[in-house]
């Protein structure tokens, strides 16, 4: 039975287990604001969805194409700031201004990623990483110093127009306030689902296979006749565009951006950690990584503080509990050293090993 490699009956698309799982998760996420009407849970879920998108696009870049770029946080920030600035400077915004913000941020990020890739893909990978690191830091400094445009350290605070406005209320449904925030939540859900599906389609297409080939052995791919430069540009542009989309959704959810919350290198390190935990090269791993990270980020400080409250006299333990980011850093280093494949990657390689074992055992 195991040797029957080919399919004798094609299953309809709708019964494919992955599609069912996917649809089930979306339905569950859609019902969450009605099951748990607290703001905190909705906030958690929205952030998980947004960061899933950003981390998945970074996984496309790092796991599928093999390019390490530290500029992903910058594209995230570009998306966030374009929405913020347009909605802040225009006196009476309406919904097509959001569309304008989307177009502008897409244009800027695609332009910048094209520029960066033209300059830097011809050098070795490490130079590319260092260049993007320098570029991201530059964007941060620009965001802080260009106060006339970006409002400097204070950041930009704005309101969403039309039905997205948080005060706009439609009444109640299943005992939950249906207001603008819920509308934004559903917008985030639909956009993330759609863009994640686009990402899946991108990687499972012939284009995605060429990208995997480039990651495995670039020389061999060139020998086969593919222009790797072109494919790498496709990959970089697509993932930067998706990161900006993530930034737009983030700004719409928080209604406040400042340079430290969107351009800081800490965001890039967080994205790296999420990709590593979830598993590089597996798109679904980004869901696991983002969920794990954001839930821990919300609960760990509280947990540490309650543990520290048990020994209130000891100053050392108090300060160590304050700096919970230290434990993140240590976890990061441990994950890189000992679990470089991440959760999903390890699971997949175990399954693959079992399949190979079963195949060899039952071949005769």
């Amino acid at each position: 039975m195991i040797s029957n490699q080919g399919r004798t009956r094609t299953n309809p698309f709708i019964l494919n287990p992955m599609v069912c799982l996917y649809a089930g998760i979306i339905v569950l996420l859609a019902l969450i604001p009605f099951i748990f009407p607290s703001f905190r849970v909705m906030d958690l879920m929205a952030k998980i969805m947004i960061f899933t998108l950003v981390v998945a696009s970074f996984d496309l870049l790092l796991g599928y194409t093999g390019i390490l770029s530290f500029a992903h946080g910058m594209f995230f920030g570009i998306g966030a700031y374009s929405v913020a600035l347009i909605l802040y400077h225009i006196p009476k915004p309406s919904w097509y201004h959001i569309l304008l913000a989307v177009i502008i941020s897409l244009g800027v990020s695609i332009g910048m990623s094209l520029l960066v890739s033209f300059f830097s893909l011809r050098v070795k990978a490490i130079f590319f990483a260092m260049l993007t690191l320098a570029l991201a830091e530059f964007a941060h400094i620009l965001g802080v110093q260009w106060t006339s445009l970006t409002g400097g350290e204070d950041g930009v605070s704005f309101v969403l127009p039309g039905i997205f406005n948080f005060n706009h209320s439609f009444g109640t449904l299943f005992h939950t306030q249906v207001n603008g925030r819920l509308v934004v939540y559903f917008l985030i859900l639909i956009s993330t689902a759609f863009l994640f599906a686009a990402l899946l389609r991108f990687t499972q297409s012939p284009l995605g296979r060429v990208l995997k080939a480039i990651r495995e052995n670039e020389q061999r791919t060139i020998a086969l006749g593919y222009q790797t430069f072109k494919y790498q540009i496709y990959s970089i542009v697509f993932s930067s565009a998706l990161a900006s989309m993530g930034g737009i959704l983030y700004a719409m959810w928080l209604c406040y951006v400042n340079p430290d919350s969107v351009f800081h290198t800490a965001i890039m390190v967080n994205i790296l950690l999420m990709v590593l935990i979830g598993g590089m090269g597996t798109l679904y791993g980004s869901v696991i990584g983002a969920a794990f990270f954001i839930i821990t980020e919300n609960w760990l400080p509280g947990l540490l503080k309650s543990m520290a409250a048990m020994v209130p006299e000891n100053v050392i333990i108090q300060t160590m509990a304050d700096r919970w980011q230290l434990y993140f850093g240590i976890a990061f280093v441990l994950v890189v050293l000992f679990f470089p494949k991440g959760v999903l990657g390890t699971i997949r390689s175990r399954i693959r090993q079992k399949k190979i074992l079963l195949n060899t055992l039952f071949k005769y």
């Binding site: 093999g66 390490l68 300059f119 830097s120 011809r122 050098v123 990978a125 490490i126 130079f127 990483a129 260092m130 260049l131 690191l133 320098a134 570029l135 830091e137 530059f138 400094i141 110093q145 260009w146 290198t265 390190v269 790296l272 590593l276 300060t319 160590m320 700096r323 980011q325 230290l326 993140f328 850093g329 240590i330 990061f332 280093v333 890189v336 050293l337 470089p340």
Partner: protein, 339 residues
């Protein structure tokens, strides 16, 4: 297999002297360009300030380029070594100040205390480098991607430990009194400390070149980079030598940190990231693995930063980026790069 010609009589590379001379002249001419907009006195002040900034950046960049060029290890944790060195120097100077010795106005006394602070910072940097190398770097030799990720993580962890020990705020560094003076030559303000920074940079450069080219350990290190296995067969413990190189690089970064702390008269936990960007730009301009390259690159970056900071303040960092982009376009290996 080299693309350059070799002089058969002396077995050395033939250098096109005319071309090199023209390149140098063009470079120096480019740096005289701001004289059009700035009066000579300010220009000289800015030049001295730029040279001293460049020397400080050289201290960090030289460690980075050594570690990459000689060990093929990407070390982004350099920023953390730098910050640790700065804070160590700050603590040592605080300690000296609490004894009241900072108030000595004698140049010799101040220089002595500065040396004490630098020495302590160097030792701390070396210890940190050894610990990092043993624990973390040895597991990821050869895999550039993992090295980048791991060193970013280590840098993060070290900055957090720093925040636990010293707190998150900016701190003011007590500067030895004599260094707060300056002297005037032909109307140009020259602070004593700037001259010390330039002297220190030049000494470190000369020392590095001497160690690398004329001593036995330098030759072993360079040979180990070319071909690790053969050096192992000759009986030297290459692991220990690479640990030594890493520790030396970290010590240089720590010394640079202390100098920057006294230069700015303040320390804050985020200073490492800012200067890592400068160091990366310098290493890319000068070429990975070349100490001469990072020296020249640091001078270029320091000078251009100061001139543009005077003329068009917001574009100061941008100009450095543009130089880096131009160098990447016309000569991706860097000015003096070998790979």
């Amino acid at each position: 297999m080299t693309s350059q010609a070799i002089d058969l009589k002396t077995n050395r590379f033939k250098t096109n002297r005319v071309k090199t001379g023209i390149n140098w002249l063009m470079g120096i001419g480019l740096f005289m360009l701001p004289l059009i907009w700035i009066d000579p006195i300010t220009y000289l002040t800015l030049t001295v300030a730029g040279l001293s900034l460049g020397m400080l950046i050289f201290l960090i960049a030289s460690g980075l380029t050594l570690i990459f060029g000689l060990m093929d290890v990407l070390n982004l944790a350099h920023a953390a070594f730098f910050t640790f060195g700065a804070y160590t120097g700050y603590s040592v100077l605080n300690l000296i100040a609490s004894f009241g010795w900072i108030e000595t106005a004698s140049l010799g006394g101040s220089a002595f205390f500065l040396m004490v602070a630098l020495g302590t910072a160097g030792c701390v940097g070396a210890i940190l480098g050894i610990i990092t190398e043993r624990l973390v770097i040895q597991r990821v030799y050869g895999d550039h991607l993992m090295q980048l990720l791991v060193t970013v993580g280590v840098s993060f962890v070290m900055v957090e430990i720093l925040k636990i020990i010293w707190g998150v705020n900016d701190e003011v560094v007590p500067v030895p009194l004599a260094f707060q003076d300056s002297f005037i030559i032909y109307g140009v303000f020259v602070e004593y400390f700037r001259v010390v920074a330039i002297l220190l940079g030049v000494c470190v450069f000369a020392g590095l070149q001497f160690v690398l080219k004329k001593t036995k350990i330098g030759i072993i290190v360079r040979a180990g980079v070319e071909n690790r296995e053969i050096v192992e067969t000759t009986g030297y413990n290459i692991n220990r030598i690479f640990t030594l190189v890493f520790a030396a690089g970290a010590a240089l970064a720590a010394v640079g940190g202390t100098m920057m702390a006294v230069f700015n008269q303040a320390v804050n936990p985020g200073m490492g990231d800012q200067f890592l960007i400068f160091a990366l730009i310098v290493v890319i301009i000068g070429g990975m693995g070349s100490v001469t390259g990072s020296f020249i690159g640091a001078i270029i970056v320091g000078l251009s930063f100061n001139y543009i900071a005077y003329l068009v303040p917001k574009m100061a960092l941008g100009v450095n980026f543009m130089i880096m982009a131009i160098i990447l376009l016309i000569r991706p290996k860097g000015l003096f790069g070998k790979e």
